[in-house]
């Protein structure tokens, strides 16, 4: 048994009270024991913080034995509303069919990291959710022991039933819940052995399934309230522009329109957090009785826009100030490409250097050099941005889809002039996140609108608003070089990567640590186009580029691409290059997924007509290797199958995790192959799904198989890791199938190749 102390040291018990109707409520709040590590992990992935946070679990036991388990984190499709309560239920020892799951509201006293970001929902709450269940189980046992006057050590708890074998007594959890609620929280409790898990590691269906297939209101956009008004916003048509004037009267008389006005989100002196980021600080608001009437009125509004000057803003990222410059002017995608290609040497920074790469390149018998790029992307969650607010004189209620309720609360408070404690934020199920709902400016907007209208308001973006007022995936560019000696050995590796406005480089990831002479450099280009986190930030480009380039190196050396990677990983494991522990990844776990995918895909015995590409990548503390199979049908490459091997530690809900793997694969193929947001004179050239191409049913692989490494390691990320590597596997398989290498996303623009 793992013993874990519940009170001493790092945790503080904060609440233990009986419910009015009888029952047990437990809430915990304790500091995470590995703060610095968490902060580092975040900083790497989504450029987040330096310090963090509390975490907790929460459950209610009814007197009939039904258990309500609160799911604290935002549900964006990663299935935490099922898998987080599963962890609590397993340690509680309750039958899953007696569990009811409720979405918790934002509560910074009870919970921490109520965030859907960094693939960290499960990993950051793992210990704490287990403890929440185990503590309750222990208290129920104690209550039974006291009632029956037997030693607590002789009481067992299985499937929601407490028993004492010697006396034959037994009772349901519900019968002991009231007594248990009056007990002190134990100083120390036992967690289950991994081998004794009965819910964790078993596939459980989505707790919202029935509601989803019958169309019940679940999402933010479904919120309805008595007297609720509908609002929508009008924003400048181009980045680099702002509002000059508008004619409210031109639409005020239209049917169902209540008011037309402007809102300014933040005052100049408000110190914004990075997640308060917004494309346009001043917006025109149209409020009316129904969505259609508001959308029609918006279209009819007469507005004049003018050019924005250059703006410098300071934003904080978990305590670190970042100065960001937004240049004046209307930007074009063509200029972006030119700027990325022709970066001046003064802007290039060395991020890591091992050995003497300059000499190795100078003395090389052969050098290969390849450049890769990708465009801006819009997140395009299927549910457009929306939120509900009801603001009264001294209180604000907000309800809707957000990935970061806690981080947005101070901004709402600031804009409304209402103290934090009077702001109540609740979360709905969310029609996708992908990072877009980390930036909750729409919460601030709807709060300001409700305050002004003195009424409950639901703000709804049109698809065009959503796509053209985005916080986009940056455009990236990377050039790789490899040096070979006369015996065709790889002697040096160089990557120079940059982006608008951030670099995609992870200097300490593979193949860093596996090559004696290694140089990683990065650069950035300023822009006034708003960008931010998009599923697996930076990895979502650099993985595909790096894995495509490694494929070319292997080919150059005449080696099997898996064998070649395994050789590098062997070096990194046995004799790593660089400072001790400077390499981010565990080379053995990395090799493990490659070996697993090699076995499961039957790599060495591809069937006739099947062209295969492989890729493997580490991010969010997890390891993913994928083999993608293409078959040519009528001269068109068709993705027949993808085999994925994943090491994400203990898998809580295997079928749901497989679903995420399948989604990551399809999402990755889709974005590498088809998607892109381009700009002309500051305006996005795509504003809806007629011109912005997302992958569709026919283009998805026919079959996706996912295999998990059996592991006793605590869970690591799962939402993001399957997404980045597939882009490399796709490019490598396309090369085998067509003879053409693909360097610039979306690949469909390089040549019309896939049907």
């Amino acid at each position: 048994m793992t013993h874990i102390k519940t009170k001493q040291g790092r945790r503080a018990f904060i609440k233990n009270s009986s419910l009015a109707g009888g029952g047990l409520v437990l809430g915990f709040s304790w500091f995470n024991s590995c703060k610095p590590k968490v902060a580092e992990a975040l900083a790497v992935e989504i450029e987040m913080p330096k310090e963090w946070y509390e975490i907790n679990g929460y459950l209610k036991i009814g007197d009939n034995g039904v258990v309500t388990i609160m799911s604290p984190n935002p549900e964006i499709g990663q299935n935490v509303r099922t898998s987080m309560p599963m962890i609590v239920a397993d340690e509680l020892e309750v039958d899953w069919k007696n569990v009811v799951v409720e979405q918790a509201a934002l509560n910074t006293n009870l919970y921490s990291w109520q965030v859907a970001g960094g693939s960290r929902s499960i990993s950051s709450s793992w210990q704490n959710l287990r403890m929440a269940g185990a503590t309750a189980r222990h208290m129920l046992k104690e209550a039974a022991a006291e009632t029956w006057q037997v030693p607590v050590g002789e009481v067992t708890a299985v499937g929601g039933i407490l028993s004492h074998e010697a006396t034959g007594k037994s009772a349901g959890y519900g019968e002991m819940a009231s007594a248990a609620s009056k007990l002190e929280v134990p100083e120390e409790i036992e967690l289950k052995e991994i081998k004794d898990f009965s819910i964790i590691g078993t596939s459980r269906k989505n707790v919202d399934g029935k509601k989803l297939v019958t169309g019940k209101p679940l999402f933010g956009i479904d919120v309805q309230r008595e007297g609720m008004l509908i609002a929508s916003v009008v924003h400048p048509p181009a980045f680099g522009m702002k509002l000059k004037s508008y004619d409210a009267e031109s639409i005020k008389q239209m049917p169902g329109i209540r008011d037309v006005f402007t809102i300014k989100l933040y005052n100049d002196d408000f110190k914004k957090m990075a997640f308060h980021f917004t494309a346009f600080n001043e917006l025109i608001v149209v409020v009316g009785d129904s969505t259609w009437q508001v959308f029609q009125a918006k279209k009819a509004l007469n507005v004049e826009w003018e050019n924005n000057p250059e703006v410098t803003d300071t934003m904080t990222m978990f305590g670190n100030d970042m100065k960001v410059t937004f240049p004046a002017g209307m930007e074009n995608s063509e200029d972006h490409t030119a700027k990325l290609k022709d970066i001046t040497s003064s802007k290039i920074k060395v991020a890591r250097k091992d050995g003497n790469p300059e000499a190795a390149f100078k003395n090389a018998a052969k050098i290969i050099e390849r450049s890769y790029s990708c465009p801006f992307l819009a997140h395009n969650t299927m549910e457009p941005m929306n939120f509900f607010a009801h603001v009264t004189d001294d209180h604000a209620e907000l309800l809707g889809p957000t990935q970061t309720p806690e981080w947005m609360e101070p901004a709402v408070s600031e804009v409304l002039g209402i103290p934090l404690e009077n702001i109540d934020i609740q979360m709905t199920r969310q029609g996708g996140g992908f990072g877009r709902r980390l930036y909750g400016h729409f919460m601030v907007e709807v709060a300001a609108i409700s305050q002004r209208m003195k009424a409950p308001v639901k703000l709804v973006y049109t698809r065009e608003d959503d796509m053209t007022q985005g916080i986009y995936r940056p455009a990236y560019y990377a050039t790789y070089r490899a040096a070979f000696d006369t015996d065709n050995n790889l002697t040096a590796f160089h990557v120079r990567a940059g982006g608008i406005p951030e670099s995609p480089l992870f200097a300490n990831r593979f193949p860093a640590g596996a090559i004696d002479n290694y140089l990683a450099e990065d650069f950035t280009v300023d822009s006034n186009i708003t960008t931010g986190a998009f599923r697996a930030p930076r990895s979502n480009f650099i993985a595909g580029a790096e894995q495509s380039f490694l494929d070319e190196i292997a080919e150059e050396m005449g080696k099997d691409p898996i064998d070649f990677r395994l050789e590098l990983l062997k070096r990194a494991a046995e004799d790593p290059v660089g400072e001790k522990e400077s390499n981010d990844y565990d080379a053995n776990r990395y090799a493990g997924v490659l070996e697993l995918v090699r076995e499961k895909s039957n790599w060495k015995q591809a069937e006739p007509g099947v062209h295969r590409g492989v890729s493997a990548y580490f991010c969010h503390q997890s390891y993913v290797a994928q083999v993608l199979d293409i078959v040519m049908e009528n001269d068109t490459p068709v993705v027949h199958k993808v085999t994925a091997a994943i090491d994400c530690g203990i898998v809580v809900n295997p079928d749901a995790a497989s679903n995420l793997s399948e989604g990551g694969v399809i999402d990755g193929i889709g974005h590498a192959m088809y998607s892109g947001l381009t700009f002309k004179d500051g305006m996005p050239e795509q504003s809806n799904f007629d011109r912005y191409r997302l992958i569709r049913h026919k283009e998805a692989p026919k079959k996706i198989e996912t295999y998990f490494v059996q592991s006793d390691i605590d869970p690591t990320g799962m939402g993001e890791p399957p997404f980045p590597p597939i882009m490399g596997a796709l490019a490598n398989a396309l090369y085998k199938a067509t003879g053409q290498r693909h360097y610039h996303q979306p690949f469909i623009k390089e040549k019309q190749i896939i049907g």
Partner: protein
């Protein structure tokens, strides 16, 4: 504004709206049937799919004035107890990730199976191609459509 009498999910509802109002917004804002989803507003994503008679149509491009006497079925009216074979199959396969597009997927799939009870893989792909799933559940959608066809044949 004009008054319309709409046959929906087995009953008749009266409503006074502008004749150009798309059924999507009549359903969502006026009838409180929010299972039909707004995705794009231009019939490109399929999130708003309903049945008009026996056909799957995009309700965002269906003005209320064009409905007339035809019957509309939404996800809420697909079955009384949420046990239509397609709904059963979706539950069994556990298709969804975020779930937002799935009502539209289910309405498209159920219209397909009504006309073609035993579709081939290609026919499924063709019928479902107009419904975008941003989370990428396409392989599960296909599996669930096949499963629904099986359930149909066994009942």
């Amino acid at each position: 504004m004009a008054t319309f009498s709409i046959h929906i999910n087995g009953s008749t509802k009266n409503i006074d709206v502008d004749p150009s109002t798309p059924m999507l917004w009549v359903l969502r804002d006026h009838f409180n049937l929010v299972g039909t989803k707004f995705g794009c507003g231009i019939a490109q994503c399929g999130a708003c799919t309903v049945h008009l008679g026996e056909n799957a149509v995009r309700s965002c491009q269906l003005p209320i004035s064009a409905v007339g006497e035809q019957h509309i079925t939404t996800i809420e009216g697909l079955s009384e107890n949420g046990d239509h074979p397609v709904q059963q199959a979706w539950l069994e396969v556990d298709v969804y990730q975020c779930g937002y597009c799935q009502a539209g997927q289910i309405m498209t799939a159920s219209a397909l199976l009504k006309k073609n009870p035993n579709p081939t893989e290609e026919e499924i792909e063709g019928a479902m191609n107009g419904n975008i799933c941003r989370c990428g559940t396409y392989t599960r959608i296909k599996k669930a459509v096949k499963k629904a066809a099986e359930i149909n044949q066994n009942t």
